[in-house]
Point group: C2
Chain length 259, copies 2
Amino acid sequence: MKALIVYAHPEPRSLNGSLKDLAVSTLSAAGHEVQVSDLYAMKWKASVDADDFGANATAPLRVVPSSGAAFDAGTLTPDVRAEQEKLLWADTVIFQFPLWWYTMPAILKGWVDRVFAFHFAYGVGVHDETRYGERFGEGTLLGRRAILSVTVGGPESHYSDRGINGPIDDLLYPIQHGILYYPGLSVLPPFVLFGADKISAGDYEDAAKAWTERLLALETTEPIAFRRQNFGDYEIPSLRLKEGLETLGGKGFGLHVRA
Amino acid sequence: MKALIVYAHPEPRSLNGSLKDLAVSTLSAAGHEVQVSDLYAMKWKASVDADDFGANATAPLRVVPSSGAAFDAGTLTPDVRAEQEKLLWADTVIFQFPLWWYTMPAILKGWVDRVFAFHFAYGVGVHDETRYGERFGEGTLLGRRAILSVTVGGPESHYSDRGINGPIDDLLYPIQHGILYYPGLSVLPPFVLFGADKISAGDYEDAAKAWTERLLALETTEPIAFRRQNFGDYEIPSLRLKEGLETLGGKGFGLHVRA
């Protein structure tokens, strides 16, 4: 296995840092190759701007075409190209981060905003009467798997079916489906550690054991059964789920997962 | 009205820039006071780190207590304190941004991560058998209203009830409920402009008219009827919606909106 760990926490001696270190040591000891993108250590630039596109930046700046032109010309900035190369090298991508305000920290969102360039992660493939580009089950990163490892300050009940924050699966849908599945990654069920703000040494031992088990099972874990876009479940180009299929899934975001 | 516009786009001559300018001119002409936080022009620092907390940063860095200590001591960085002061000055907060990867751009997420400090936006109020802090209907920003003005590249059908991306209301829930309603803001229904990647001059005229109407109606628009946390709808401390109340709302995130 070739694993890329994208890690977003400012403190190496944090819970997130420990879980990242555990992933590195566990996978390495099992004979896998591991690379880490430690976004804080790399002083990752979070904000998309014209500097990302050099001579390919349009004036006025239009982000999508500038991104595509710079990607096509191979002139995206070296930090962005290095991350794209790591993604193409990897067969497994692990994201380790704390849930801040119900989604990823800004520095990690900035990794997505900049690395997932036009023509690399989106705007790939043809749009015609039967296909709406290569995405959601196709795309540049097809054949690779991804998993979120997320620490959550609050307790699990707050993120349960009736919890005030909404179900954790729904909060993660825009990341797991919208960001990861979009360019072709298979998304494994997330590893979510609740109660991270009040974790004890004993709790950590339990969490480390559970995370180790998940890490050693990455190659055999069934991905979330998101529906593929271009294979009959959706009307094209409206991309609405065809009538009748909702009986196989939930409501809302759950519609887009096969039963 | 005292309106704060938090604006996140790198290009002043963009659709988002035009909608921001329209908000400034429309509200000013109607006699309201307006301040703008133009995050790109301000070169807003997006990533939370120890520098945010100065002498109040714990070692190793623990973000939550460091944030609270620095807020209490008045030693958060001047950029963060200025934004907090604007929020306390305003009675209306408008967020103008493009939907990038199904949520806000990193620079705006970094505004939330840094400005919404512990003891300012969260960790406010007592936790006991009948109250779980002051949030979701209470909090520091109670009595103020907020509205998202969001441009979306794709067409509305992709974000409809059966659309592949999920319903736009569900995609915005972590922002509208999790970020804005959390510290007490009343959240007005969003202004969402779909098809922004292919907008024509005529489309823009229609959008500008619609946005102007929304801007001039801000003071009389009914907010989204999110359920208040501490007023009987939720079990405490599990914060699960009490049995039976689901019949008044939808499923998933919709549970937390009154019918």
